[in-house]
Symmetry: C2
């Protein structure tokens, strides 16, 4: 990553708002055990304005937590649309006693050994404030096992997070009758305050909820690899091109509710229930499929999703899938990379040029975009949203650059065009699902300057114009510099050929100038 | 959805490119059995330029497929960044014989009964071209079961898709020794041509791959609900706020590879392996955990992901997670809705006003954005990408609108401001992870017009300016109309107070005008 986290932290600090809570004690977390999980907790608290005090006897602990923090500072602050508060202070301490001073939250993330965890709690309870919450990151132990034998068992809860802890919202909160309502409420409030989701289980159970699923899938995956049915990569693809991306937005039951259609959850269960006795489950212990179980599940599903019709849920699902897959397209990963490959294979057939040789008639505006308005480009009223006009024009500029020779290889060699100024005029509206095309003219190309004019159409209907002044830059110095000769030559060809076209309406206009 | 699919289809048809393949026979698919799955296949083929011929004795078949098509036309065409070819023709036929005329692909999606499927194949093979592929959507049967007893077994394969078929890329292709390499290659090529991912299993197995996972998770979920550990909604949340969103981009093994850290996949397996004997797995049949299994899995994982370091994989993962969660933020769903709630709770503390009363000093520019540049706002070189400047300015405009009273309620009542023109000047660069703030001035407010000036800063460093002319519109007529009196009054207060500020540098400038 370019950019200095220290600098940006400095700025954030200088502009810090006072803590809403004011009370410094409310805002200190002690992290017992670093590593990937403890480091993730440290980052969550720190970036949400808490002071974080770490105890970990590992001499590598500071480096490991710094590594996690680097990742967290890079990704978490921009996740939301509102800046985070100023970072708290991160300190390392040689003893548990010193680490927990002033802490209202203690997070234990030591290795999964009950004796070790209990030893830590024994030492903790000698030093920590009686009102502080002790959360355990354990993925397997029940809270009753952790609490056993302790005087102040009430303050010990399971708070099981998911990696990367600085980004994943889920925290499984598991408690027992020994925990007071005050402790439970405080635990849930603090978890929510640092931007996470406290899932409070109704009863304690080995491995909580999520890890039971992970364990079930893991077992199945081991069989599939061992039996040579599919490789690890193929299994990962089976997940991420299919149910993984469905589950990311709706989970299991709501996904099936949609699949069941208007006939409802009971109908779905009636179809799926018999599968429980299919051959591949014969070795497994399964719950009895009876009316009671059906009523329980269908009733809960109604309470969860009954406010939406299946048609509504289908469209919500599709909006989410399109948005997520297009987000993966931006990183060229998973289902998004698949789509990019598919697009690339089709662009020639859709009239899009990649090089000068592909341009049939230099004298005409160049087709630089030929696409459909995607669902994630629209606002609450279903119209293409303002910034996506510039997104489309920027894609057109990229294609125009590639055509004249400013392609990925050229950019890797150290030159590119940067946009200096943009003027967009919105002429007419367009909705998701409608086809749009952008045609591009070179108005002027002189030295470092490239002056482009984009027109966006749906069919014959003009939707918007974009006037753009770009400067060629040296990517090392970040200063303007002349383009390579072959780029200048190609640009000049377009500028000369396009000079024969009539002057576009609106060229060179200022905002608010009379038409 | 607003907009007429017929219209847009009409436009697409009028501008259709000739089929790359030319041969009409290459481009006809027969769909045997409609419903959600058959309809999804029909939509996939149709929207990718194939003619689709449907056979389904259900009198409701045409309506059901039309419903699926409505959803598909709404979401699929914009998924990629290149327009789809012109739609093919959709026809319904009273017999299998008629439906398969000219088809190079036949997709069978009849109910999951082997006798019924075999009856369909028997009729199919009397009429379909010998070189056509017959794909079965079966989620449970092995291809050898489907092929049994047929003369031309070679043309029958399993092609198991996932709902919604028009969006989900995964197709499990399962074959036997009876299938020729030509049939297998043709099947995979056609699946790829319609934008899907053919996962060709190495061996046939009951329920293929993905459904074995779904079945394992389903069993576990039934236990959890039955035993009262969590409700269906809580289980869905456990999935979509945690591993679901991880799996959407990396699946199971690559996710664990990252979790294992630099020590590698073998180290991870050594940690996780013992879990196979933990108490909650005692009822399950599990593979023996030995060196052979470890070598197999670690070796495949190296082949899959070994080209990236763990640090690289962590950052790729985080880029993906941020992009997907922010996509879900746009639809206010799942993990994105969680983040939006968290943002909303913090905006006051970060100095962002929601109403006139929140604005401390009317005479100064208004803080309308206070955020960090997120990972998904940057381009390949790590700088904030062009269109996101307008995204940020548009968010500032939305906040300014809300402050003067043009909030969600007002918009729901039928009035809003639309942007007519925008002029952006890029002054300096900014990177992901850096804090940005936008301050906004009202330059002029007269009648229906609102003229705004946004300045974007990182600390004291000016990054960009945005000059925007907006018009108040009646959302019913889509024509400009005066705003409600309280909006006009609030706007006038700002315009008057801001008139005392010095004229901004660059106001009213046209593109390319001398500075």
């Amino acid at each position: 990553m370019h950019g200095a986290p220290c600098e940006s932290v400095g700025v954030a600090r200088a502009e810090a708002q006072p803590n809403a809570n004011g009370n410094e004690n409310m805002k200190t977390a002690a992290i017992i055990g670093g590593g990937v999980i403890g480091g993730g907790w440290a980052a969550r608290f720190l970036l949400n304005g808490w002071n974080v005090r770490v105890f970990d006897p590992d001499p590598e602990a500071e480096r490991k937590i710094t590594d996690v923090l680097d990742n967290a500072r890079r990704s978490l602050p921009g996740l939301g649309n509102v800046a985070l508060p100023a970072e708290g202070a991160l300190t390392f301490h040689p003893t548990i006693a010193e680490a927990v001073a002033g802490a209202s939250w203690v997070q234990e993330s030591v290795p999964e050994r009950l004796d070790l965890k209990q030893k830590v709690y024994g030492e903790l309870q000698q030093h920590v404030a009686r009102g502080a919450v002790i959360g355990s990151s354990t993925s397997g132990y029940k809270p009753s096992q952790l609490q056993e034998g302790f005087d102040n068992a009430a303050q010990i809860v399971v708070a099981h997070p998911f990696n990367p802890v600085y980004l994943m919202p889920l925290v499984e909160v598991v408690t027992t009758d020994a925990n007071t309502p005050e402790v439970i409420d405080k635990a849930k409030a603090i978890i929510a305050e640092i931007g996470m989701y406290p899932l409070h289980l109704k009863k304690e159970i080995d491995a909580h909820v999520a890890d039971r699923f992970l364990e079930a899938v893991w077992r199945e995956a081991l069989w599939l690899v061992k039996d040579g049915i599919a490789t690890t990569e193929e299994i990962d693809n089976a997940i991420r091109y299919g149910f993984g991306i469905r589950w990311a937005q709706m989970g299991l039951f709501e996904t099936y509710r949609v699949a069941g259609g208007e006939a409802g959850m009971k109908h779905f269960l009636a179809q799926f229930g018999p599968c429980l006795t299919w051959p591949w489950t014969k070795l497994m212990d399964v719950p009895e499929y009876n009316d009671e179980l059906v009523d329980l599940i269908a009733g809960q599903s109604d309470a969860q999703s009954g406010k939406y019709s299946i048609r509504e849920l289908e469209r919500i699902r599709d909006d989410n899938l399109v948005g997520m897959m297009r987000a993966l397209g931006n990183t060229n990963w998973g289902a998004g990379a698949l789509q990019n490959t598919h697009d690339k294979a089709r662009e020639g057939a859709m009239g899009l040029a990649s090089t000068m040789q592909d341009v049939a008639d230099l004298s005409q505006p160049v087709l630089t975009l030929n696409r459909t308005v995607p669902l994630d480009w629209t606002d609450y009223n279903g119209h293409m949203t303002e910034s996506r006009y510039l997104d489309a024009f920027a894609q057109s500029t990229d294609r125009m650059m590639a055509i004249i020779g400013c392609d990925a290889d050229y950019i890797a060699s150290g030159g590119s065009f940067f946009t200096a100024e943009t003027h967009i005029r919105h002429i007419d509206e367009v909705h998701a699902g409608h086809p749009i095309q952008v045609r591009t003219r070179v108005i002027m190309a002189e030295g470092k300057k490239m002056h482009l004019w984009h027109e966006m159409y749906e069919g014959e209907r003009l939707l918007a114009t974009g006037e753009h002044m770009l400067l060629h830059v040296d990517l090392k110095t970040r200063r303007s510099a002349p383009p390579a000769p072959h780029l200048a030559e190609n640009l000049a060809k377009f500028a000369e050929a396009h000079a024969g076209l009539p002057t576009p309406d609106g060229l060179g206009r200022a905002i608010g100038a009379p038409r």
